[in-house]
């Protein structure tokens, strides 16, 4: 277990060279853009900027991701590599309006 973790901790240094960057903005409890098209089969670095004063939780079961973004702050997380398809996500704290989808092509 320990060795597994140690090896794993070293891996990103080898792998992080070819990241593809995308940005999502949260404003008025909505995601902009609501549809984010990304290349399939590549690891994506997703930057989320929350321009609202209240916190939001980026959540997606299809992507297997959840991350709290504090009010007026920016965070990053990694998704993929994804098979081609649609991967809906939402803001758990404002589910009525905060809806979006990642489209992998």
């Amino acid at each position: 277990m320990k060795y597994l973790l140690l090896t794993a901790l070293l891996l990103p240094f080898a792998a992080s060279a070819a990241d593809t960057d995308y940005t999502l903005i949260i404003k008025d409890h909505r995601f902009q853009p609501a549809e984010l098209t990304v290349p399939a089969g590549k690891k994506i670095k997703l930057t989320i900027e929350n321009k609202d004063a209240t916190p939001e939780e980026f959540e997606s079961y299809p992507l297997g991701r959840e991350k709290v973004v504090a009010g007026n702050s920016t965070t990053t997380l990694y998704i993929g590599p994804l098979a081609p398809g649609r991967y809906p996500f939402y803001g758990e704290y404002n589910e009525a309006t905060a809806q979006g989808v990642v489209i992998a092509k």
Binding site: A8, L11, T54, K67, V68, T75, Y78, E95
Partner: protein, 279 residues
């Protein structure tokens, strides 16, 4: 109101299930209730602190502080549950035989109590901080919506606690003969599920490769946001679309704890056999 109730229920459920199982598993440990209450209280205080320092935690370790924090909290809980299970394998039979009084093991009982405190505290901390943030968002946004939303939060909390309590009382009904085997199995699966969640956070932070992602997809048959999906997620770490690395963590923890339990169980059997021979 309904939406709020569902969200809060989701958060509370996981902590409630963990507490229900751990409370049942430690039924015979002296002074358990006090330690359990202490863990709950510390967890709630911690939730407030973590929620208030969300942006500080998030900006630590160049933006992956939140993932590291979650993975570490889960990791500590896994170690504590492993310790509990291994300790129980060496003492469980004695506990079962003497039913409720194992006076000679008070010292070890205390270490068992601190495990209880930590596991309960961390479970509440993790799920509680998200609930606090959610409710804070509501409180900050709109005064008119606040009362129905907070009512929803209360309903969700009570429903979550009800499920945890049902599991707790259900487990206590298991005959003593099978009780420690049953709770041991549940704690084992709980720990493996937490390890899988920890792996997911480390993948999200790009500290671990996902390996095959997803390894399978059962979201059509058993979605994770359905009630059975949520229950299975909390109980055994069910994930509808797990990454290969999550399964590696799950199986590694499962086998490691199982091996530890088997190892801890051995010397006691020999002693018992010797005692039986002397009689």
């Amino acid at each position: 109101m309904f939406g709020t109730a569902v969200i809060v229920f989701r958060e509370v459920l996981e902590a409630a299930i963990i507490i229900g199982i751990v409370a049942a598993a430690t039924r015979d440990v002296p002074g358990r209730s006090r330690w359990l209450a202490g863990g709950l209280l510390l967890g709630l205080i911690g939730s407030g602190v973590v929620a208030a320092s969300t942006d500080v935690i998030a900006s630590m370790a160049s933006g992956i502080g939140q993932e590291l924090f979650n993975a570490i909290v889960l990791g500590i809980a896994v170690v504590m549950l492993a310790w509990h299970n291994i300790w129980m394998s060496s003492h469980g039979a004695a506990l079962a035989a003497h039913a409720r009084s194992v006076g000679s093991d008070i010292r070890e009982g205390r270490s068992e109590c601190s495990i209880l405190l930590v596991v309960v505290g961390l479970a509440v901390l993790r799920e509680g901080s998200e609930t606090v943030l959610f409710l804070y968002g509501i409180a900050a946004a709109d005064g008119g919506k606040m009362i129905p939303m907070l009512t929803g939060g209360l309903v969700g909390t009570l429903a979550g606690i009800a499920v945890g309590y049902t599991i707790f009382t259900g487990l206590l009904r298991i005959p003593l003969r099978w009780f420690f085997t049953a709770t041991g199995m549940l704690v084992l699966l709980l720990a493996a599920g937490m390890a899988s969640q920890a792996a997911r956070f480390l993948i999200q932070a790009d500290l671990l490769p996902s390996l095959a992602a997803p390894l399978w997809d059962t979201s059509a048959t058993l979605p994770e946001n359905s009630l059975p999906g949520m229950l299975l997620h909390s109980l055994i770490g069910y994930d509808a679309r797990p990454a290969g690395m999550q399964i590696v963590f799950y199986i590694t923890v499962l086998l490691t704890i199982a091996a530890g339990m088997k190892w801890a169980n051995r010397p006691r059997q020999i002693i018992q056999q010797n005692r039986a021979a002397q009689l």
